[in-house]
């Protein structure tokens, strides 16, 4: 079925342009992009006042399958992605078993083909079992379809090991996604270290726990030439280190999550376990630095670190609660409410961080709408508002600190390979 997207503003994140164009889609591809298109046989999608964007890709998602299907699975996770305007996600390897071999990667891809609503790009592990001891068969992982490598959640503490990981991954041209955390500095920490942790009596995690590792990994990337992507950057010091590294030409990219550019440690008050996340929510000055990093391009990517946890894993005493929060369904709303509307990012800049930059890092095509290209399209209505309602979330888990937040700027169409999977805030599959 051909579709004609009429009257929208086409966003080109690479040329940083906004152009009023109609887009005709057929057979999974973009057939034509021009003003005032007509196609009598096509179903018309009215995009007046909306941004027509290359399909968004969230490069940091935990789909939890295999092993933790009670939290999320590939079906529910990609439904959440589609609701959130993402046509693709990259999923982290901390499943059970860990995605440290081709069999698990194949399994994920097969499941995604069967039940996935959006595209799924698995990320393979850096080390076997993410134990930080032995290299994985990276070439095998790559051949099976892994788009990058990471031991997310389990930082490689041994610098020598990390050096070998980067040498080997660099040889294959695979990006290493680093969860930068020095566990000896975290040392059982539960939230950001500062006045709030002191008052709540919760062990604090210093900014240095992240910054020490960011610095180390930048130096190793510089030495090895391996492309390094720093996940979920949360501190002003990290932003500064990345900015310096980029200025001297290190192949480093970085991401920030919506919660890290929106919330501070204050969100933990009242022992709110939905605000318990690693890296922790930091101070206002860190939030400002992250926003500045997004604005000046130091931070390339906005990714959610979507980390679903079951109700009973969050409904416990704070120190026993699992780390992480879900983000797929609130990301676009937060980007528009927190970054685009206040003028921190232009729409093309925001879409670059949500669509084109992550694809470049993962060596995936797309990220720009073009005639003949794949019809992965996200349409965003910048004026549409919605209050976050846990009952309406597609994710199996509801662990978000944004419940009852009113978000403005929401995806109204998610189209994967020419087929709408979400339209007018309703899933079609």
């Amino acid at each position: 079925m051909p579709y004609l997207i009429k009257n929208g503003i086409v966003v080109d994140p690479i040329d940083e342009t906004l152009t009023e164009l109609d887009v005709l889609v057929d057979n999974g591809s973009i057939v034509e992009m021009a003003k005032d298109l007509t196609a009598p046989e096509a179903e018309i999608i009215d995009a007046k006042g909306c941004y027509v964007c290359p399909g968004l890709l969230d490069m940091h998602v935990h789909l939890r399958e295999p092993g933790y299907e009670y939290k999320e699975d590939i079906e529910s996770g990609t439904r959440a992605a589609a609701m959130g305007g993402f046509t693709a996600v990259a999923c982290m390897p901390n499943t059970n078993p860990v995605a440290d071999n081709a069999a698990v990667i194949n399994h994920i891809l097969e499941r995604a083909a069967r039940v996935g609503v959006t595209r799924v790009h698995p990320i393979g592990a850096l080390t076997k079992g993410s134990q930080g001891k032995e290299l994985t068969e990276m070439a095998d992982l790559q051949a099976a379809g892994a788009v990058a490598l990471s031991d997310d959640g389990q930082p490689v503490m041994d610098a020598g090991m990390m050096q070998r990981v980067m040498q080997y991954a660099g040889m294959l041209g695979l990006t290493v996604v680093s969860h930068s955390e020095d566990l000896s500095l975290t040392a059982g920490g539960l939230m950001n270290e500062g006045a709030v942790s002191t008052m709540l009596g919760l062990k604090g995690i210093p900014n240095a726990a992240e910054e020490v590792m960011v610095a180390r990994d930048i130096l190793l990337a510089e030495n090895t030439g391996c492309p390094l992507h720093l996940a979920h950057i949360s501190t002003a010091g990290s932003v500064r280190l990345i900015r310096q590294a980029k200025s001297r030409g290190v192949k480093v990219t970085a991401e920030a999550t919506p919660h890290h550019f929106t919330l501070t440690e204050e969100a933990v008050q009242g022992y709110n376990t939905n605000a318990k996340v690693n890296p922790p929510l930091r101070r206002q000055e860190d939030v400002e630095a992250v926003k500045e990093g997004l604005k000046d391009g130091t931070i390339d990517v906005i990714a959610t670190d979507h980390a679903p946890h079951a109700y009973h894993e969050k409904d416990v005493e704070f120190q026993y609660a699992a780390n992480g929060l879900i983000g797929l369904e609130t990301a676009v709303g937060l980007v528009f409410s927190q970054l685009v509307q206040p003028g921190i990012l232009s729409v093309p800049q925001a879409i670059a961080k949500l669509a084109s930059n992550p694809r470049q890092i993962l060596h995936l095509s797309g990220g720009k709408l073009a005639k003949g290209g794949v019809a992965d399209i996200t349409i965003i209505d910048p004026n549409l508002s919605e209050v976050v309602d846990p009952a309406k979330l597609q994710s199996k888990s509801k662990n978000t600190p944004f419940i009852r937040w009113k978000l403005t700027g929401l995806p109204v169409l998610t189209m994967v390979a020419g087929k709408p999977v979400m339209q007018k805030r309703r899933l079609l599959r």
Binding site: G194, A195, T198, M199, L202, K203, Y271, E317
Partner: protein, 312 residues
């Protein structure tokens, strides 16, 4: 004024009036403890459970006696012997006790925020008897009661808290309560045991004992946990004692009538010299008596009839 809260979770949440109401109510309670017949029928038919996930003979006995002096029925649930060991959640344990008709749950728990978490889910009154490194409000109140009784008023006093501030819920409750009532609170201890930004709670921070003790009206000495040394937070008990132990000579730096408090149990010869602990300035034993009085006052106030519940 009347008591309006369902629970006592921390001194951070209390107003000056509420703190004073508790301390004022503890005065007649202390009179009862001084009687030959230590019993009033006040809380007949009321029940209190002590739900302790950490051992503490002192605090538990104090609550137990407080309840018994007021004729409430009490039971104790020790974490090790209960379904806690079977992995029952705190919420479910609380709901079970509540369903059995318990009026007050006194909880001690290693996790900060546990009392607040429990209070959210059960209609029974919850008293925080120490949650992780967050608060120990009844200890704070008994310290304040002791100081007020000896000094007449807390306003304008200088109070120095010595020791492991980082891990101390006693220090936190004292800082909140004392600063609300107009005292100047100083905290002193090794830099590795000093929590970040504690100034924002209203305390003055020192890492040297001498200036911290100068001219203070009260010294509150905290217990140093031996395990902190194994965690590498200070080098040895010897050095700790040399830098932060309270002895007679150091006590001379304080005002001549300064009081010495210690929440107990003491490590004699380490954080406090026996000469000081048993000396004329020490009110350590009175703290224990006052602890019962303050807990009686709380049990009385929290077991009122119908109240407009404020969550904390």
């Amino acid at each position: 004024m009347f008591w309006q809260r369902k629970d006592l979770l921390g001194l951070k949440y209390l107003s000056v009036e509420e703190i004073n109401l508790i301390l004022d109510t503890a005065i007649p309670m202390k009179e009862i403890i001084g009687r030959k017949i230590k019993k009033t029928p006040t809380l007949r038919g009321r029940s209190m459970v002590t739900l302790f996930y950490e051992n503490s003979t002192r605090t538990r006995s104090s609550f137990d006696l407080a309840a018994k002096f007021l004729s409430a029925d009490t039971i104790g649930v020790a974490a090790a012997s209960s379904s806690v060991a079977k992995g029952e959640s705190l919420r479910d344990t609380g709901l079970t006790l509540n369903a059995m008709g318990v009026d007050v749950v006194v909880i001690r728990h290693p996790a900060s925020g546990a009392a607040e978490y429990l209070a959210k889910y059960i209609p029974a009154a919850v008293i925080n008897a120490g949650d992780g490194t967050h608060e120990h409000p009844t200890q704070g109140l008994l310290d304040m009661f002791t100081i007020r009784e000896k000094k007449g008023s807390i306003t304008g006093l200088k109070v120095c808290i010595v020791g492991d501030i980082l891990h101390s819920r006693v220090a936190r409750s004292n800082i909140w309560g004392l600063t609300k009532l107009g005292a100047e609170v100083r905290v002193v201890g090794p830099a590795t045991l000093m929590p970040l930004d504690i100034e924002q709670m209203g305390a003055k921070v020192y890492t040297e004992l001498t200036p911290a003790l100068e001219g203070v009206d009260v010294v509150n000495v905290l217990r140093i946990q031996m395990e902190r040394q194994q965690q590498g937070l200070f080098p040895s008990l010897r050095e700790y004692s040399r830098l932060f132990g309270l002895n007679q000579a150091r006590l001379e730096l304080t005002k001549p009538d300064a009081l010495v408090l210690h929440p107990g149990p003491m490590n004699r010869g380490i954080e406090i010299d026996p000469q000081v602990a048993y000396g004329s300035r020490s009110v350590i034993n009175e703290q224990v008596t006052n602890g019962v009085a303050v807990r009686m006052a709380l049990l009385y106030l929290l077991t009122g009839g119908e109240y407009d519940a404020i969550s904390h």
